[in-house]
Symmetry: C2
Subunit: 216 residues, 2 copies
């Protein structure tokens, strides 16, 4: 059974993006600091066409996620940073160029219909306008026996959590304080009961794998 | 040189107490879940006069903190849960009975003057009415060559962080979501720059030792 996994990096004070996101700083002020841990890893660099990179426990966690991923769901903001009709979006082709790292079908939640874009390396971007459940259904079909990953942003993850559709949350806690921005755990209709099933840590990042349980 | 260490348990969504604290639930709804990890440890049970308890990495972290502590600073709320004049506080003797676990001098921040209370086992409670710097000065003198610990609540820790007086923050991140309550990292005048110098983790709790750095 294909599971829905949410996977995101979060600061110790709970933010997944800093304040004032822009095209120049899509993750807001300081937000890129949440991802420095991953940029240096072989499992990040290889699908981005970069040589070398560190191996070790952090790399194993990321490599494992890539291997398990059969399809990705993301919000429009995560795709392009924009909003509104695509003709007015200066980043309408997304952040990743001709050979995006996903190498699986990606489903982008948007209010603005658009033809599917086929990229190199197995990545496609389909644009889903009829809501999170429709996007998940399409992603499940595309993922076959692998997992569906929701990468963000926070509001998309919150929508899936509120709908009770998330099986597992993987949170990479980075020991920095952003002091403001977008919180991962805001906007939940009711508290979500989680159980840590695996925790791997270093001074750089703590990877928490959390199974979603029924409320206690 | 005596250092000022802040030491507190926090939920994954950033809360150090749940909503609606009361005399019956001093840590608010669900707040006691932040401390379940410590209750089962030998290093917690022994100073509370309880037999047995688990040993291992979590226990080592707590035992190390007890050993390093020469004095404690805490807020009035953490001491008794009350506020206002002591005559009207039904818990004016504090939570810990005749033989509190601290076994060092404790300095309680309050607006209401009161004589020092001497307890068994080396614990005393002095009541400091002239602010956080005065309390720290007295605690430093009492701690000799050991550290001063600030146990909480959040607002006291925030006051010390804002005053630039904290050397190290030890945060025990517990993988539960409280969904509301008192946040550790609210109320900071500006973002605090931290560097993780040690991280120890299990599915139950992640212990982050964070050195406070100058803003970057």
């Amino acid at each position: 059974m294909t599971r829905l996994i949410s996977d995101i990096s979060m600061s110790l004070d709970g933010f997944v993006a800093g304040p004032n996101p822009s095209l120049e700083q899509p993750l807001g002020a300081g937000g890129e600091r949440l991802h420095e841990w991953v940029f240096r890893l072989r499992s990040f660099r290889e699908p981005h066409g970069l040589p070398g990179g560190e191996t070790g426990p952090d790399d194993d966690v990321v490599a494992e996620s890539w291997r398990a991923t059969g399809a990705v769901v993301m919000g429009r903001r995560m795709f392009s940073g924009g909003e509104g009709p695509w003709e007015g979006d200066p980043n309408a082709d997304g952040w990743w160029g001709d050979d995006p790292p996903f190498r699986v079908p990606v489903f982008v939640l948007t209010h603005h219909a658009r033809e599917t874009v086929q990229k190199q390396g197995g990545t496609s971007f389909a644009f889903v306008t009829d809501g999170i459940e429709a996007a998940l259904e399409q992603a499940r079909a595309a993922a076959a026996d692998k997992d569906v990953y929701v990468g963000g942003g926070a509001s998309v993850i919150q929508q899936y959590l509120n709908a009770g559709l998330v099986d597992e949350l993987q949170v990479h806690v980075v020991p920095v304080l952003l002091g403001g921005g977008v919180r991962l755990f805001d906007g939940l209709d009711e508290p979500v009961e989680v159980e840590a099933t695996r925790v791997i840590c270093s001074p750089t990042v703590t990877h928490l794998r959390l199974a979603i349980r029924a409320p206690r």
